[in-house]
């Protein structure tokens, strides 16, 4: 519990700074950091705890984004119920999809998830009812229900903070639960897990649904704030990879790892984009960094620190 309160405390502090300073630029930065943390923690449930490499995880963010966007635009729904609906819908899609594709193991599962993301993207791009390739833009009037665009943006910020805190709490409790123990048994050896009595297909599917729930909500918030949604940004495979990158950088299978990974990644990326010298090369440099992590720090920052300072093991989950 102690380590959880530290993590939540940290989140609240980070989240409160822009509220106190009313610094808009800072708010945007923190918004992105929070989003990254929440996405990385979500992915960690299926990738880090369960050991299934979901390469196209961004599909749930995109689906959530579209569901909420259409609900708000066409039916005048408030963002909060729209966000919850979007999350539940993403989770439902993951559950049904999981029943099928979670029978695949290892690389086959990874390829299938890429396939799912690309298929959904192609489908939406060709559906004129949801705006096709150009996507959809909010009617100006949408934000007036929230007291104008500025208020809507602040509301998005609060929602993102709340969702991020929720994700971290859920991750922590999953990790500490019997459910989590079952997931980790699956990660280590699925055949052993099933003979030990773990209902592997049920557990995997639930983990997949849970790991899709929050990205659906995050997509809803992001595109609500953004004011427009289009397939290329909703289902961008690179974002999927960014999520994996953050989990790996911080240390997969831990609660603290994805959080640290997300913060560090956002900082690196921010630095690379701002710096004149690196701006154009930031993708190539991200590639080199990712390679270095995979080769030399496979258990991420947390794993590295825990190996070097065993005393920290008790405190870092």
């Amino acid at each position: 519990m102690k380590s959880l309160s530290w993590l939540i405390g940290l989140l609240i502090v980070i989240g409160a700074i822009p509220m106190i300073t009313h610094d808009v630029t800072l708010r945007e930065t923190v918004f992105i950091i929070l989003m990254y943390i929440a996405l990385a923690e979500s992915l960690n449930i299926i990738l880090g705890y369960t050991g299934y490499v979901s390469f196209g995880h961004i599909v749930f963010y995109g689906i959530g984004g579209y569901v909420a966007f259409l609900m708000i635009q066409n039916y005048g729904l408030n963002i909060i119920p729209a966000m919850i609906l979007a999350g539940l819908f993403s989770a439902l899609v993951a559950y049904c999809l999981g029943l099928a594709i979670l029978r695949l193991r290892g690389a086959y599962f990874a390829i299938a998830t890429i396939g799912v993301n690309e298929a959904v993207k192609a489908l939406i791009t060709n559906l004129e009812q949801v705006g096709g390739a150009e996507g959809i833009y909010f009617n100006i009037k949408v934000y007036s229900a929230y007291g104008g665009a500025e208020h809507a943006i602040w509301l998005s910020y609060y929602l993102m903070l709340a969702v991020t805190i929720a994700v971290v709490i859920v991750s922590w409790f999953v990790k500490k639960s019997k459910f989590g123990l079952g997931l980790m048994a699956i990660r280590e050896d699925e055949d052993a897990a099933i003979t030990l009595g773990v209902n592997t297909s049920k557990y995997k599917t639930l983990a997949y649904a849970l790991s899709a729930l929050f990205p659906g909500m995050i997509g809803a918030i992001f595109f609500f704030k953004n004011g427009n949604i289009e397939p290329e940004s909703a289902f961008h495979l690179t974002k999927s990879i960014e999520m994996i990158f953050m989990v790996m950088l911080g240390g997969f299978g831990t609660v603290t790892g994805p959080m640290i990974g997300a913060i560090v990644y956002e900082r690196i990326r921010g630095f690379l984009i701002v710096s004149e010298m690196f701006k154009a090369l930031h993708i190539a440099i991200s590639g080199i960094i990712l390679l270095l992590i995979v080769l030399f720090m496979p258990r991420g920052i947390i794993g590295f620190v825990r190996d070097k300072i065993p005393a920290l093991r008790r405190f870092v989950e």
Binding site: K176, S177, K178, L181, G182, M184, A185, R187, E188, D189, D191, A192, A193, I194, T195, L196, G197, V198, N199, T200, G253
Partner: protein, 247 residues
């Protein structure tokens, strides 16, 4: 009688790995299964524990037909097993490994009770000192004990041991044999596959012999060992059998 295997047949393509095998296991006995490599022993275990569905036949456990049930359900009914090639959950601690068995086994315990059970079981198999080590760091004999501990933690009525003695040195074999005897004393029925003849002959109440997927003999260890059919099929070297059974 706790387990009844009736006319089990399991094929892989053209190969009949288990051919019409039937036998019964009585409560609290140790039944040994021997046979040359490829005789179908592990396949038989995989059928009993639900990993393979047999083409023909039934497995009755505790009066219930469990044929074709998924492995996790069979585990929860009270059949636990160890694997010939150990399957430790490497990145979990030794204690967590055992807790998995306790949590999802017959008693389906919550985490706290599972932890207590895990500690008891680890003491029982002599791994308590290593409880907080990652399972991947154990050596092979320790991993074998861990397999056993995990299976025991599920509080099974029947435990299937697949070559738990293989790869151990003579002292370790002795220790493991003692542990197995203690398990039987605690009231658990044991069905075990073993290649180490002298050990299984000494420890088993009864023995069945498989060859090319078929049961070719069944009976008391000394009877089986002297059965010419067994000698021919199993070793092809009667002197070696004599040597082994005398010990």
């Amino acid at each position: 009688m706790i387990l009844k295997v009736e006319n089990i047949t399991k094929r892989f393509g053209g190969l009949v790995a288990v051919n019409n095998v039937s036998f019964e296991v009585n409560e609290k006995e140790i039944l040994g299964i021997i046979g040359p490599n490829g005789a179908g022993k592990t396949t038989l275990f995989n059928v009993i524990s639900g990993i393979y569905k047999p083409e023909k036949g039934k497995v009755i456990f505790d009066g219930k037909d469990i044929t074709g049930l998924p492995p996790f359900k069979i585990a929860r009914l009270g059949i636990a097993r160890t694997h010939q090639i150990v399957k430790p959950l490497n990145e979990l601690t030794v204690k967590e490994n055992v807790m998995v068995g306790a949590c999802f086994g017959r008693e389906y315990l919550d985490l706290d009770s599972a932890e207590k059970v895990a500690e008891d079981v680890l003491k029982f198999v002599g791994l308590y000192e290593k409880a907080d080590l990652l399972a991947g760091k154990l050596n092979v004999p320790e991993k074998k004990r861990l397999e056993l501990a995990r299976a025991l933690a599920s509080k099974p009525k029947l435990i299937l041991l697949d070559e738990v003695l293989a790869g151990l040195n003579p002292v370790e074999v002795m220790e493991m044999v003692e542990v197995i005897k203690k398990i039987r004393e605690s009231g658990v029925t044991i069905l075990m596959i073993e290649h180490l003849m002298h050990a299984i002959m000494q420890i088993s109440d009864r023995i069945i012999v498989l060859d090319y997927g078929q049961k070719i003999a069944e009976g008391k260890p000394e009877d089986v060992a002297n059965d010419p059919k067994v000698i021919e099929a199993y070793l092809g070297d009667p002197e070696l059998v004599l040597k082994l059974t005398k010990r």
